[in-house]
């Protein structure tokens, strides 16, 4: 009696061992866990940014219309690259390797455009005299917070671009499986999602208000 009951339990649930309960390869679960911990790191930075921003009453709001437009175009590039990534994963799962590679490269292109526009933005700000320890508008922490947040994010995008290139090469040459494309997609969407917090918190909240 008791015997048969235990045996039933052994087979009844995905959590009873001998199977991956989330029905995904470990690599994918690992990527999700990485995303959890990395989002904690970004959250801590955003909390730190909010903390010093609230603590300094005269926080600068220097971004003019052109800057906001530039940042919006960057956002558009990144969001579009998420869309192409979705297409890449879909193509990969249908095992249409060529198509998947094309979509992956389109995603890489979106990422590269983002990086280029962002670099242009950085150079512009540096020319205006913004550094991690000073800026023309007041509270020096503005530059520190801006460069730290966007810098760490840009590092993530850069790593992501390299990652996608490797995946495109490996999937195109049939070394990698569709899951590998999907896992890289998780990372890419996460990086986009982080930007969706940074864009409003760093740019929109610091848009120049008309006096």
């Amino acid at each position: 009696m008791a015997q048969s009951q235990t045996e039933d339990l052994t087979l009844s649930s995905a959590w009873s061992g001998g199977a991956s309960p989330y029905a995904m390869v470990s690599k994918k679960l690992g990527m999700w866990l990485f995303i959890v911990s990395d989002s904690l790191t970004f959250s801590a930075l955003l909390v730190a940014y909010s903390y010093v921003r609230v603590a300094n009453q005269d926080w600068p709001k220097p971004f003019e219309w052109a800057s906001i437009l530039g940042a919006s175009i960057m956002t558009f590039c990144l969001l579009s690259s998420s869309l192409t990534m979705v297409m890449a994963v879909a193509a990969a799962q249908r095992l249409e390797r060529k198509k998947a590679v094309v979509w992956l490269l389109a995603t890489v292109l979106g990422g590269l455009l983002f990086i280029l526009l962002h670099a242009r933005e950085w150079i512009g700000l540096i020319h205006e005299g913004v550094t991690p320890f000073a800026n023309p508008w007041g509270v020096p922490l503005f530059g520190a917070a801006f460069f730290t947040l966007t810098g760490l994010h840009m590092t993530h995008v850069t790593v992501g671009v390299l990652y996608l290139v490797v995946i495109a090469w490996g999937f195109g040459s049939a070394r990698f499986k569709p899951e590998d494309v999907e896992v890289s997609g998780l990372y890419w969407h996460f990086v986009d999602l982080v930007w969706m917090f940074i864009f409003p918190m760093v740019y929109l909240l610091s848009a120049k208000t008309v006096a």
Binding site: M1, A2, Q3, T6, E7, L9, T10, S13, W15, S16, G17, G18, S20, P21, Y22, S26, L29, G30, L33, F34, V36, S37, D38, S39, L40, T41, F42, S43, A44, L45, V47, A48, Y51, V52, A55, N56, P132, F133, V139, P140, L141, A144, A145, T148, L152, R175, F176, K177, D180
Partner: protein
């Protein structure tokens, strides 16, 4: 020859060659031992530092010529400067918390026994596993390098509070290069811990063998699993804090440096930052860290008490849920480290309440441990003694927590020896007892030989009496108003009475530390000469006791075991012997 790294994690060929086998090994068992040895080395360094500190506290101003030879700047004329004392304290804390208490119970034993206990051939990501060990190793080297750079080791404590830690050399010796190395080391350690945590969680979720449901996991696995979740969430935040501190130090930002700061008679040219921000970020990590250190010890204690009381663990489910509850609550109590940092009394009250709530799952665990012992046929092996010692220390250290979690009491006791006594009892010594218990318990599996029980028991009794002699008096010192982090107390009239107590504590500390040599001798002698151990010397039930000692490279010889029952089936009525292995298929019980 290409390796199938990307496809199947379960291709297991025993590696050839010394380097692949013992240095850059992918085998979780080798990595576990590497972590253990790293912790053993670190604990010796940490103890040595406490010997120096205890000497100075009891007999300040005594000339020790060898100190001058070793540290001509820190101890001119053989007498240590107060700053040198602080650097010893900082390094003692950092080494012990990160490289001993976080490393040995979780990364060491967890690596070795988690896959074995769930019936897996290895961890889910062997390469990441290797990587996390070697990053930890580099992190330790970077930290130790702080001893030899100009200015010496940092003096800001293991909590690295800014503004001192953010300003550089101007704030004191060791706060230049030494502090930068400290931050770099911590950041590296964060990365290593994150990789390890990710690996532990994935392994526990995905690689359990058939029949090993979550509610059949040994409580050790539950503890490692929850600890890994805490590490995954906590170290990410410390990493962010570390990066900001590094930027403050190296780039010149001022996240943690407020305006108008005057240090060493110089106006500091920074403004806008907040030292409180560091405290929030640090303790959001720091409190879960305390449980990262202690939870594995709780798991080991449950395992050992059940084994040697020959009884099922009392309230298995309650034990598992209590571990989860402690893990959950650990993230909403960080403010209790900051009662005196200018916190609103309302926030303090909230943090005080959540902190008190920790007592509930802790009490459940203690109650169930005692319930397990109750009426058991107890075998007093050394492992069992250390596990019982763990319970004792956990209770003692926990009770003083109930004083400190009340803001009004903490105003008096904060930064006194009462706090030193509290955290050494509960997260220092208790966790160390967990490590010892685990070592005596699993040594036969790891090295196929027993540790000497006779030496082990002597080691236990001296250590047990020793740690109480060291830390009990510190409670009274705290109540007498003796502040911590001072190099000596002779200059204060109101502290004239504490000096003899400090002498007593120091002598007790030297005796206790001396007794650890017994352990070291026992450990290395037994690896070579100890009594040969059978496969299952303790008549225990979990899966690691079904494989040869030491287990082969792929643990179960390519055949995954099937689990048919819970982890603690001892003294089952009607069974032919007093334990039933988890993998035993047939019910040897006749139900009427």
């Amino acid at each position: 020859m290409t390796e199938a790294v990307h496809v199947e994690p379960v291709v297991h060929q025993a590696p050839q060659g010394f380097i692949r086998k013992y240095i850059f090994s992918l085998d979780h068992k080798v990595i576990g031992i590497q972590y253990y040895l790293l912790a053993l080395f670190s604990v010796m360094v940490g103890m040595l530092l406490s010997v120096l500190m205890r000497f100075n506290l009891a007999w300040p101003g005594t000339e020790v010529p060898i100190l001058e030879t070793l540290f001509p700047v820190g101890a001119p004329g053989g007498i240590m400067t107060p700053e040198f004392y602080l650097s010893l304290m900082t390094m003692h804390g950092t080494i012990m918390v990160f490289f001993v208490l976080t490393t040995a119970p979780q990364s060491g034993f967890g690596n070795y026994f988690l896959p074995l206990q769930i019936g897996a051939p290895d961890m889910a990501f062997p390469t990441l596993n290797m990587l996390s060990f070697w990053i930890t190793f580099v992190s330790l080297l970077v930290l130790l390098a702080a001893f030899v750079v100009t200015g010496g080791a940092p003096i800001s404590g293991w909590t690295g509070y800014p503004p001192l830690s953010a300003l550089g050399e101007i704030a004191g010796p060791g706060l230049g290069t030494g502090q930068t190395l400290w931050v770099a080391s911590i950041a590296l350690f964060c990365v290593a811990s994150l990789l390890g945590a990710l690996n532990f969680i994935t392994t526990t979720i995905d690689l359990r063998t058939k029949g090993m449901s979550m509610m059949r996991l040994p409580l050790t696995v539950w503890a490692w699993f929850v600890t890994a979740i805490l590490a995954l969430l906590a170290f990410g935040v410390l990493l962010a804090a570390g990066v900001l501190l590094l930027l403050d130090r190296v780039v010149g930002t001022s996240f943690f440096i407020p305006a108008g700061l005057v240090v060493s008679d110089q106006m500091i040219n920074h403004k806008g930052g907040s030292p409180l921000l560091w405290q929030h970020l640090f303790w959001f990590f720091g409190h879960p860290e305390v449980y990262i250190a202690i939870l594995p010890g709780m798991g080991v204690t449950s395992q050992i008490l059940s084994t040697f009381a020959r009884k099922p663990i009392f309230g298995y489910r309650a034990m598992a849920y209590a571990i989860m509850a402690i893990g959950l609550v650990s993230f909403i109590v960080w403010g209790h480290h900051m009662f005196l940092s200018g916190m609103s009394p309302y926030s303090a009250m909230v943090f005080s309440l959540t902190t008190t709530a920790v007592a509930v799952p802790s009490a459940i665990k203690t109650f169930n441990w005692l319930g397990t012992l109750w009426g058991g046929r107890v075998r007093f092996t050394t492992a069992m003694l250390f596990a019982i010692g763990f319970v004792s220390l956990f209770v003692t250290g926990g009770v003083s927590g109930l004083f400190l979690n009340q803001p009004s009491v903490d105003i008096y006791l904060h930064d006194t020896y009462f706090v030193v006594a509290h955290f050494h009892m509960i997260m220092g010594v208790a966790a160390i007892f967990g490590i010892f218990a685990a070592t005596y318990y699993w040594f036969p599996k790891m090295f196929a030989r027993h540790l000497s029980e006779r030496l082990g028991k002597i080691h236990f009794w001296i250590t047990f009496v020793g740690v109480y002699s060291i830390f009990m008096p510190m409670h009274f010192l705290g109540v007498m108003g003796n502040p911590r982090r001072y190099a000596e107390f002779t200059a204060f009239e109101f502290l004239a009475d504490v000096v003899p107590i400090h002498e007593f504590i120091s002598i007790a500390a030297f005796v206790t530390i001396g007794a650890q040599l017994l352990f070291a001798v026992n450990f290395f002698w037994s690896i070579a000469r100890g009594k040969i151990a059978e496969i299952n010397p303790w008549s225990a039930t979990t899966l690691e006791w079904t494989v040869p000692s030491p287990p082969p490279h792929d643990n179960f010889g390519g055949r995954a075991p099937v689990v048919h029952r819970g982890p603690y089936e001892y003294s089952v009525p009607g069974a032919s012997r007093d334990f039933i292995l988890q993998s035993e298929p047939e019910m040897k019980v006749v139900h009427q």
